[in-house]
C-alpha cells in the first residue's frame, strides 16, 4: 500500500492528483511541482516522494522556506522493499521544524543497479552519521559525503547487513583477529 507509491491504481492512497493533504504540500506543489513525484498521506503523516536528482535542492529550499522552516533533520533511514522489487531501496528523510513543530517525510527511491543519491550533509551537518549508517547497512552511496565510511560494522565487513538477501546470522563467523 503506502510502501509502493508507483502502483496507486486501485489503492486508497491519495496521489498528488487527489486533494492535497495539507496546505504545506499544496503550497509546495504550486512552488516546485517538479520536486513532487507523489504524495502519501497516511496515519497522520505526510510523505513526499522526491526525484533522486532533486533531493538536495528540495532539502535546502524546505530548510529556509518561510512556510516550512524544516531546520532540524531528525533522521535518515534506508529501507529495503524486497529483493524482487524495483525500485528496491528507499531513503527516508524525517524533517522537523524547531519553530513550527511540524514534521514531513521525504522519500527517495533507488533501483538496485544504481544506489547513488546526493548527500544532504551540506544542508544539515547532522546528516553525516545518518548517511554513513545507511551506507553501512544498505549500501546506498551518498555522492558528495565528506567521509563515507562504515560506521557500525568493521571496515572490512563484506556486504550490507540490513539488505533483505543478507542472512540473519551472516555468512560465516566473523573473526576479529
Amino acid at each position: 500500500m503506502a510502501s509502493e507509491p508507483e502502483n496507486t491504481e486501485g489503492t486508497p492512497i491519495p496521489s498528488s492528483e487527489a486533494a492535497a493533504p495539507s496546505p504545506l504540500v499544496a503550497a509546495l506543489q504550486r512552488e516546485h511541482p517538479e520536486w513532487i513525484s507523489d504524495v502519501i498521506a497516511a496515519f497522520g503523516e505526510i510523505t513526499i516522494v522526491v526525484p533522486r536528482e532533486q533531493i538536495v535542492a528540495a532539502c535546502s529550499f524546505l530548510k529556509t522556506w518561510p512556510e516550512s522552516r524544516f531546520d532540524f533533520l531528525a533522521d535518515i533511514c534506508g529501507a529495503d522493499r524486497g529483493v524482487e522489487e524495483d525500485p528496491r531501496f528507499e531513503v527516508n528523510y524525517h524533517l522537523f521544524s524547531t519553530t513550527k513543530h511540524h514534521r514531513l517525510r521525504l522519500k527517495v527511491v533507488l533501483s538496485e543497479e544504481d544506489t547513488h543519491v546526493s548527500s544532504v550533509t551540506g544542508v544539515w551537518r547532522t546528516a553525516n552519521w545518518h548517511e554513513r549508517e545507511t551506507f553501512d547497512l544498505f549500501g546506498v552511496i551518498f555522492d558528495g559525503h565528506p567521509d563515507l565510511r562504515r560506521i557500525l560494522l568493521p571496515e572490512d565487513w563484506q556486504g550490507h547487513a540490513l539488505r533483505k538477501d543478507f542472512p540473519l546470522r551472516g555468512y560465516e563467523p566473523y573473526s576479529l583477529t
Binding site: 503506502a2 510502501s3 497516511a42 496515519f43
Partner: protein, 405 residues
C-alpha cells in the same frame, strides 16, 4: 648565545614545547566513555585539535533482528537499546505500532505510562549525574544518586517484575495493572525526592572545582546545536526551548503542567543545570499523574491484538482462541510506514516502522538521541583540553547500547 649566561639555550622558555601533533586513542576500555567508545584524538600538547569517534563495538544487529520477530516480540529488544531508559524505548516502539494499528489506549494506561516514563527519566538522569560527577572526580555523588535510583528501580520492579529490562508496555496498553500498594510506595518516594535533589545541589553545584571543570567547557551555539541535530537536554542547554512532550504531545502530555528548563550558555554546566532542573519537573509530572490515576482498563479493546485476561480465557472460548492466535501467529499490522518521536531522557527517540501487512515488521529503525548527540562531540571538543573531553562526554549522557544498537 643570546640568552642569559646561566641558562643553556636548549632550555629557553617557549610557548609550545612540542611542536608536533600527537594522535592518541582514548578507549574503547576507557572508564569514562560510558561503554565501549573509542575516540581518536589528535592533540597538540594537551589541546584537542580533532576528535574522531569510533563506534560499533556493541553493534548486535538489533534492527535486523526486529524483521525476524513478531511485533510483540520486538518489545523486549527495545529494552536493551538505551538500557538506562528502557520504558521510554518500550513506549516509542509500542506507540509506533499502535499508530499503524489505529489503537485507542485507555486513559488509565496513558496515565500509568506517563508516570512510569517520568520515574524512568529521573532514574536515567540519576545515573548520568552519578557517573558525570565521578568522571570529574566527585566520588560521593555517585552513591547518593544510586541510592535514589534504587528506590525507583524497586518501583519499576514492583510494577513489571524487571529492574533493567521491564518490558512493561505492550502494544495496546500495559502488561498488567499496577500492583496493590504501588500508589502508596510511589507517593512515599515522591515526597522524599525533592530533598534528595537539593542534596545533590549541595554536593556539587556549589563546588568550586566542579564549576571550574564545567563552566565554559564544550560550548555549542544554538544554531550549531540545531544543525547537528542535538535534542533533549543537550539542545535545551544551548537555549533552544524544544521538548517533544510540548511540540508534538503524546500520551496526553498536553494536559500536564510542567516547565521546559533551558539554559543559554551551551556548555557542560548548562547541560548539567538543565538535567538537574528537569528532575524536579519530572517529579512534578509524576505527582500529577499519580493523583490522576482512576480505576479503569489498562488494555485497549482490541481482542485480536491485546492478550486476553487469564480469567476470560477460562470461561470464554473466543478469548482462548485469540490468545492462541496472538501467541502462535502474531497479529497482522496494516501496511504502511510511521515515524513516532518521543522525548526520551536523552532527547528525541524516534521509531520508524514499515509494515508490509504481515505479523513481522519489514523495517524497524531507531533514531537514537545518543547516536546523534555523540556525532556533535568533535565540534564541542575542538580546542579543549584532553581532561575536558571526559567532562563533555559526561554532559552528553550517551549510552552505547543505543548508539550501536
Amino acid at each position: 648565545m643570546s640568552s642569559a649566561p646561566n641558562i643553556p639555550p636548549q632550555f629557553e622558555i617557549v610557548d609550545r614545547p612540542l611542536d608536533t601533533q600527537m594522535t592518541i586513542s582514548m578507549g574503547p576500555q576507557h572508564p569514562s566513555t560510558h561503554g565501549v567508545l573509542r575516540l581518536e584524538l589528535v592533540l597538540d600538547g594537551e589541546m584537542v585539535i580533532k576528535t574522531t569517534p569510533d563506534i560499533g563495538y556493541l553493534h548486535t544487529g538489533m534492527e535486523k533482528l526486529f524483521e525476524y520477530k513478531k511485533y510483540q516480540q520486538g518489545i523486549v529488544i527495545t529494552d536493551r537499546m538505551d538500557y538506562l531508559n528502557p520504558l521510554g524505548n518500550n513506549l516509542a516502539y509500542c506507540m509506533a505500532a499502535e499508530k499503524l494499528l489505529g489503537l485507542e489506549i485507555p486513559e488509565r494506561a496513558q496515565t500509568i505510562r506517563v508516570l512510569m516514563c517520568e520515574l524512568q527519566r529521573i532514574a536515567s538522569h540519576l545515573v548520568w549525574l552519578g557517573t558525570h560527577a565521578l568522571d570529574i572526580g566527585a566520588m560521593t555523588v555517585f552513591f547518593y544518586c544510586f541510592r535514589e535510583r534504587e528506590k525507583i528501580l524497586n518501583l519499576i520492579e514492583a510494577a513489571s517484575g524487571g529492574r533493567l529490562t521491564p518490558s512493561y508496555f505492550r502494544i495496546g496498553g500495559l502488561m498488567m495493572d499496577l500492583p496493590a500498594g504501588f500508589e502508596r510506595r510511589c507517593k512515599q518516594f515522591l515526597e522524599a525526592f525533592p530533598a534528595a535533589v537539593d542534596e545533590f545541589h549541595t554536593l556539587l553545584s556549589g563546588n568550586r572545582i566542579f564549576q571550574k571543570r564545567t563552566q565554559g567547557i564544550g560550548r555549542i551555539s544554538a544554531e550549531d546545536a540545531i544543525d547537528w541535530g542535538l535534542s533533549g537536554p543537550c539542545l535545551r542547554g544551548s537555549g533552544v526551548n524544544l521538548d517533544i512532550r510540548r511540540a508534538n504531545p503524546y500520551c496526553s502530555y498536553e494536559n500536564y503542567d510542567f516547565e521546559v528548563p533551558t539554559e543559554p550558555d551551551g556548555d557542560v554546566w548548562a547541560r548539567y543545570m538543565v538535567r538537574m532542573r528537569e528532575m524536579k519537573e519530572s517529579h512534578k509530572i509524576s505527582a500529577q499523574a499519580l493523583s490522576r490515576l482512576k480505576p479503569g482498563p489498562v488494555k485497549a479493546d482490541a481482542p485480536k491484538v491485546v492478550l486476553p485476561d487469564r480469567e476470560a480465557m477460562k470461561s470464554h472460548m473466543d478469548a482462548l482462541i485469540h490468545h492462541f492466535l496472538i501467541v502462535a501467529e502474531g497479529f497482522d499490522v496494516p501496511a504502511g510506514e510511521v515515524y513516532q518521536p518521543i522525548e526520551a531522557s536523552k532527547g528525541e527517540l524516534g521509531v520508524y516502522i514499515r509494515s508490509d501487512g504481515g505479523s513481522k515488521p519489514s523495517r524497524v529503525h531507531f533514531r537514537g538521541p545518543s547516536f546523534v548527540n555523540l556525532s556533535a562531540l568533535p565540534v564541542m571538543a575542538e580546542g579543549e583540553m584532553v581532561a575536558d573531553v571526559v567532562a563533555i562526554i559526561g554532559s552528553l549522557d550517551i549510552v552505547l547500547g543505543e548508539i550501536d544498537r
